[in-house]
Every structure is written in C-alpha cells, then in structure tokens.
Symmetry: C2
Subunit: 310 residues, 2 copies
C-alpha cells in the first residue's frame, strides 16, 4: 500500500496533536512530507527529520497529495488553499471562518480542479458530524439541524448556571482552564457558532448562507439575573444554532435560548458540543462529544485523511 | 451508473419499510430484483411487477448482487446467508441473534468468499453506530463502550419511573403502543441486549464473545419498589450494556444499574437507544436515536446498501 503523503501547515494545538498522533501511528501509513509553521520554534522532534518549513510555499511545492491547513483565519489561509488546489492537491482544513465566508468560491475551485476540500474538524471538534450528515442526506430529506456548537460559550453558561457566578467570573474561569481565548470576542459574539452553522447548512442542503446576513447577539447580553430567572423555572440558557429548511430555502438562527429538561441540549455542559439532526426516515439523531481540544479535533482531521485512501 | 441489484428476504416491519423507501427513491438507482416472504399475503403493489417469491431459494438464485436478510432468528436465516455467500452474493442483515451466535463462522465464510456481511441495522435501529465505530477504531484505541440498546426494556423502565406504575402495567402499555412484542421474553431477559453487545464487541475489538458465557437478569427482577428507591435518591434504573477491554480481552456486562443525572444515559427515555464510546484521542462520543421501528431501521439497511456502490 502506497503511503498517503500529507503536508501540514500550522502547528498550533491541533496541528501539533495531529503530528503526535501520526508519529505514534506509523501503521496508518501516512507520510508527513512537509511540516510548516511561521514560528520556527515549534517543538517537533529533530530526529524525525521531517522537512520543517517556515514558508508555506515550500510545503505547497512539496510532493504532498494532501495539504492540511490548520492556521485559521482568512489570510493567508485563503491563498494557501487556492494555490494548493491549483497545484492539484486535496485539502483538509479546520478553518470554519474561511469556509463560512469564502466557501462557495473555494468549493467551486475544488470542483473545477477535480479535488476535494474536507472539513470534519471545522464543526464540533471530535464529533463526526460532517461525515454523518453527508451519509444521512443521501438517503433522507434533512428537516432541521440544531446544535450547541461553541464550547467557550457553553462553558461560560454552564458555569454561570451551576455556580451562580457572573458572566465575567465565568469567562475568567474559562480562560484559566483553556476553554476561552484571551480575546474571546469571536466566541462570545456568536460569530464562531454562525460559521459552523453555515457549514452545517452547506453540508446538509448544498446552499451557502451569506455570513453578513446573519445577526446574533451571542451570549453578550446574558446576565446572571437571566440565568437565575431561567433556573427558577427549571430551565437553562444555551446558545442554540438552528437550521431549518422551509420550501427550498434553509434559514439559520444562532441565539441564546431558554430550554427545559425535555430538550436534548439540557445536559450538554461545559466544553461539550452536541448536534441533533431531524430527518425523514430516521426521525431524530443526537451526536455529542468534545467540541474542541488538540487531540479530539486532530482525530477528526485524521478521519478525513483516511477518506483519501482508495 | 449501473443499478445496485438487491434481493430482499423477509417483508415484516423493516422489510416493508425498506421496500417503501426504495419505491419512493428511484433516484438512488437501487433495483429490487427479487422480493421474498413466506407469507404470500404481504401487501406490495402488484403494479410494481417485482418478482415476488414465497421460496427464498428463488431469490438466492436471482441476479441480485446483495441479499438483504430481514427474517430474523436462527433458521432458516443461517442457511440463507450461507447459501447466498456461496452463490457469490454480499449480505446485509439486521439479524442480531444469528450474528451474535454464529457470526464467527459466517464472517469467516464471507472472508473466504471475498464477500461482505453488513449489519448496521442489527444494533441501535437508526443510530449509525456500526459505521462510526468502524471509522473511529481505525484511528483510536477504543477503551470502552456503554449503551442502552434495547428499546422495550428502556420503555418499560421509563414508564415505571415516570408514572409510578408496576412492571406488568408498564409492559402492557409497551405492548399496546408497539414497543414490546406479545412474547417479550427476548427483550426482558436481556438476551436481545446481549446479542447487540456481542456485535459491538466484535466491531470494536474483532473478538467474538461466546453467547452462552454471558449471563444477565435483564430487567426481570426490577420491581416498582426498586424504581422508587432509586428515584428517592435522584437516580434511575436503566439496562446498561458495557464492553471494556482490559489487556487483550474484552469483557461484557448487561445489567440493570442505578445511574445518576451525571450519566449520559439519565435522559435516554422510552424507545430511544444511545451508545457512548470512549477512545484514545476523541475522549467520549455519544450517539442517540430511535432504537427500533420500520423506517428508522430500514434507513440503516439502506445506508449499508449504498456502501456497496463503488
């Protein structure tokens, strides 16, 4: 069996975890032909003798068949993916922002070049939601999708509810425990959840929702009083992403909602994510798992790599 | 694209549902070349002009590439699958009892003939647990699997807990609503759950547990007093299937257990099933869905059919 040749660009938490898994699992026969990070102090084992680059162009010009983009953000990720596709390489990415904003063009380019863009790790961390949704939609008309898709906001809301602490204390705790970034704006504003909801919509309905048309308050306006009011009537507040297809148009909504104990999402706490799919024949399916983290997310990237094996 | 040619043997709830889905979804390009049920009064549409047989041998001798066995039980299902494999056909089955008791030989025969036996519908109805477990295990060491795998017993336990009714009243209600058979022995004894646990063990660890070595009381000994005692301390009683791998040997257990609200299974109620998988990189994943029913189970059979498309 020929090895699958991959190039990894971006050695942050997910990239380094992927590197560690691949080092451990030589039996999977995946060959890292090039590793790239702009920071040349990334801790990889020198004795592995991977070609370590700080300039992504070298990785794009390597003989990798698959480019794994794990740097995030719009630039230079967009350039990297476009160039890689033009160089005849397949793409795996965890970049929800880029796909949500520029996915239409990127997938069109991939189609034109007869290449694939795979993105399991961009939604729901370890949860195999993209592959399952693709599999389910070939058989079923998907009716709706609901999810808790952002671990940072879910952690904050869980902590406020369980420990009766303020938003800012909960945020501090999230930051201290590695569940929120120093600048948590992207998560708290609901933007990160919108990106993921746009990707689920594309996966299920093959339609791109325009990011700039989707508004959300995220959890910015949720106070401890709101939480306590919900709690007093046996409810919880969760940031819920919803996609519904009415006639031909999917509509999406990302909003903090009061839910009761009958909801599949009532017990999804802290850093966990969950997605509920409703469809024609299977009725309702729920998938729950770790929504982020190096190894959980890297395992989703790895599942995408293996899909390229003939 | 060449149509996939299938022969369906057994037109009970699942078989008829599959037939209805395939009639509706001509676009999937799956051709039913032979339909068989020993009962010649099965209601299929005459105008479809499928070759309807009451003798399975005719279906086995048809030009179907895939035989879908949906009659259940040991005989003649075992004979049918063996003959079909010897005739060079692939197999899809929902027959958990047969696979749990005779799977080792049947899978060996399939290997020898270079054919596949697929069995998504045999565990967890609509939940795509077999395909996900296969996908996950290529990457991760699976550490343990836990599940509620029998809808009948879960329905009975849920009803006893929620409505404070006796076992026999809950059973009657389950029978009235189609969640229990007239003779519920197979479910209540835990046997059905053992079959499914054996299949999950094989899927995850490639080891066959000997059915006759597994003992369970199922839910036969659970009284309303047990339920009320659990309830008074905030707990529920559920029939939990557990597979653990210690060193090289997976061990399984199927037992009524007291669980608390922190368990993933606390809110799996009535006819729903759920499976939790713990693994090396992804940590914990939960899959929840309808554990039985014609259309949910048929959609799992259909997902298996599509796997045979090149």
């Amino acid at each position: 069996m020929k090895p699958l040749k991959v190039g990894i660009i971006g050695l942050g938490t997910v990239g380094l975890s992927l590197y560690k898994i691949l080092k451990k699992r030589k039996d999977l026969n995946i060959e890292i032909v090039s590793l790239c990070d702009k920071n040349n102090k990334v801790k990889i084992h020198k004795q592995d003798r991977y070609k370590f680059e700080t300039d992504y162009k070298k990785t794009l010009n390597s003989d990798a068949e698959i480019i794994i983009e794990l740097i995030g953000g719009l630039n230079p990720a967009e350039t990297i993916i476009k160039k890689a596709l033009k160089n005849g390489k397949n793409i795996i990415t965890a970049n929800k922002e880029l796909l949500a904003k520029k996915g239409k063009n990127l997938f069109n380019l991939a189609d034109k070049k007869n290449k694939s863009i795979k993105y399991e790790a961009s939604v729901g961390g370890a949860i195999p939601i993209i592959s399952n949704l693709k599999r389910l939609k070939t058989i079923n008309t998907i009716k709706s999708i609901k999810g808790i898709l952002n671990g940072t906001t879910n952690y904050i809301l869980s902590q406020m509810h369980t420990n009766d602490i303020s938003f800012s204390l909960a945020l501090q705790k999230a930051q201290k425990n590695g569940f929120a970034e120093e600048n948590p704006a992207l998560d708290i504003s609901g933007k990160d959840a919108i990106y993921k909801t746009i990707l689920l919509t594309f996966t299920a309905f093959n339609k791109w929702i325009n990011f700039s048309n989707v508004k959300s308050n995220g959890i910015k306006k949720i106070s401890i009083e709101d939480i306590q009011k919900a709690k007093s009537s046996g409810k919880k507040i969760k940031l819920i992403c919803t996609v519904k297809k009415l006639d031909h148009n999917p509509t999406i909504k990302v909003a903090a909602e009061e839910i009761d104990a009958s909801s599949n999402f009532y017990n999804i706490e802290n850093e966990f994510n969950a997605v509920e799919i409703n469809g024609e024949f299977f009725d309702s399916l729920l998938f729950k798992g770790k929504g982020a983290g190096g190894f959980p997310t890297a395992s989703s990237v790895l599942s995408n790599i293996l899909e390229f094996r003939p």
